[in-house]
Amino acid sequence: MTKMPKWADAVLIPLISIFLAFLLSGLVIMAIGKDPVVAIKTMVQGAFGSSNGIGYTLYYTTNFIFTGLSVAVAYHARLFNIGSEGQAALGGLGVALVCLYVPWPHWAIALPAAMIGGALFGAAWAFIPAYLQAKRGSHIVITTIMFNFIGSALIGYILLNYLKVPGSMSTESTRFGAGAHLPTFHEMLAPLGIEFNKNAPVNVSFLIALLAAVGFYFLIWRTRLGYEIRAYGQSETAAKYAGINPVRIVVIAMLISGALSGLMAINNVMGEAERLIDNAVEGAGFIGIAVALMGRNHPIGIVLAALLFGFLYQGGGELSFWESIPRELVVVIQALVIMFTGALDNMVRAPLEKLFIALNKKKEA
């Protein structure tokens, strides 16, 4: 018996890591002369204390679930997709085009169409780096990073020259029609008699994100394609020997990854802003990397990690709002959580493993 139980690996280690991160954050808050207990209270209260706070937390969570799943799919094929940011931006363009140029009668029809538009654009943006990796051996990390910049420049160009409201100073498209308005939690829960804040941006795409997480599970662990993706990720040579076409797997895994990123746009572009704005993704693609790593590339882990980052975003915003803690410090707290849960994993794991081995020995003796 040399291993610790599964529950300790999946639950205990992340919890201890988060606890350590918050402990250190508390010290940082103390160092700038604020009360850490009040700060944590403000964050929790701000993120979960009201339906308005929950609404914002879940709104951010939805973004992070999509990008987290996106990074995780690629990761199962041992591909490090850093391009979720750009793919989500292009997905936004896809969603915006679908919503702007078709007068939708009802959101139930507009949503599937927007999903297809977002997924197609996101996947197309991931296809080029995928092809270059599969056929030419250009490293996917480098190409996807570069494509983030190309994507942002492309969006800027299209917004300015084709979608911008003439005479307006801001780089944003016109508002989508009323038929493309996605129901928010307020509108969804009101018929059930539950009062949810009407200004919170969380909308039906949160449920789509959860569905995507379920679909992710079946794809990776219950289908032949998922098996091939994982086999390729574990060992390229063995996969080749088993008759798996590496070009096909790389391209397909990246297409799915890009499509998931692109789907994020139904939340931020269609659900919240209801128009395409410049830099609409706002770093959610990069947070997706942390979410996937923290969630151990498993959908349940990803949803929980996304919720944690949703809490950090909304709670952090409240912290800077109510406690006048500069927003840069909120980023420090977020970074500490990423560092402890991602990079310093072994710091908690090694002693915990030793502890469990010692406990087991005792039991055996």
Binding site: Y56, G156, G167, M169, S170, T171, N268, E272, R275, F321
Partner: protein, 329 residues
């Protein structure tokens, strides 16, 4: 009965005190952050000046994401802050919805017009200040050519260029104003290298004075002008100190005054469109010890004369944004 009365009294007293304590003004900065050395920082300085002079307190917050625009506006309004000032035109969409939900709260938005009964829209007559900068350039240049470097090619920047050209041609009607824009994307606000290249090209075309209305790009223009022995004109904040002896003047846009005024008026904030021009110190050309040696007496006299005439309405500087064209080009 007595208990209820006491309780009610206590609640009423609490409501009164909390209402009084919270009728502070608030300001929301745009994504650039309050220490951006430009627009947001000017707004911040105005708020600080108000706090120092009146001893009052105010609340501020910086944005991290676009979704927070509406969220923070609502947060401030719900907690009774009044008035609430927004720095930047990007708040317009969020403000349109929030202003309608809080009819008793006053809002002020800078650089944008939002049509609502409880909103003060502060816009600047940039063309008037630019007109004065054009006069300064005309007196400083020995020849007949000066130039302009804009940031992103938007109507607002052409408004600067047009006023500048008009001011220059009021002194030298046969002169020439070279106008270049850095780009058509937001990246054009922060490309000092390209700003420098444009300045060099303009110098080889004969320009002696260059006016930069280009955000961070302008720093490259000012630097290159100093290196090449040209004169330059700064923008928004007083940038005379950046290249002493080479910056002729700066066309200042008093965003700080706009914030200061809104805070001073407090809950009785006057709504509607508030135009900040030469007459109410909204724009102007900066004079200080760094450019004193460059300002000749007749230049100063001409500027003062034009200032008086603009305020009196004898000179009406064309506003490019009114018809998207410029008679002086």
């Amino acid at each position: 009965m007595t208990l209820t009365k006491t309780l009610l009294g206590a609640v009423a007293a609490l409501a009164l005190t909390s209402g009084a304590a919270l009728a502070d003004p608030a300001i929301i900065f745009d994504l650039g952050g309050k220490f951006d050395k430009s627009f947001n920082e000017a707004a911040f300085n105005g708020a600080e000046r108000w706090a120092k002079e009146t001893g009052g307190t105010y609340r501020d917050v910086e944005l991290q994401s676009d979704a927070q625009r509406e969220q923070y506006l609502r947060n401030f309004a719900e907690k009774g802050f009044n008035p609430i000032v927004m720095a930047g035109f990007s708040f317009a969409t969020a403000l349109e919805t929030v202003a309608a939900d809080f009819p008793d709260t006053k809002f002020a938005i800078i650089d944008m017009v939002v049509d609502a009964p409880n909103v003060r829209s502060v816009v600047f007559n940039e063309q008037e200040g630019s007109y004065l900068a054009g006069i300064a350039a005309a007196y400083a240049a020995k020849g007949d050519t000066v130039s302009f470097v804009g940031g992103m090619d938007i109507p607002l920047i052409s408004k600067f260029a047009c006023g500048y050209a008009e001011g220059f041609k009021s002194v030298k009607p046969e002169g020439k104003v070279i106008v270049n824009m850095t780009g058509t994307t937001p990246a054009a606000w922060n490309d000092p290298v390209k700003g420098g290249e444009l300045t060099r090209a303009q110098k080889s075309a004969g320009s002696e004075v260059v006016f930069a209305a280009a955000g961070g790009t302008g720093l490259g223009v000012l630097q290159t002008a100093a290196d090449e022995g040209m004169l330059s004109i700064g923008v928004d904040s007083n940038q005379n100190y950046l290249q002493p002896g080479s910056v002729l003047t700066s066309m200042v846009k008093r965003v700080d005054n706009a914030v200061y005024d809104a805070f001073t008026q407090g809950e009785t904030l006057e709504t509607g469109i508030n135009v900040m021009g030469l007459s109410n110190d909204g724009v102007g050309v900066a004079m200080d010890e760094y450019n004193a040696a460059l300002i000749t007496p007749e230049m100063k006299a001409a500027i003062d004369d034009a200032t008086a005439k603009i305020i009196a309405g004898e000179i009406v500087v064309h506003d490019y944004m009114s018809d998207e064209s410029c008679p002086a080009f």
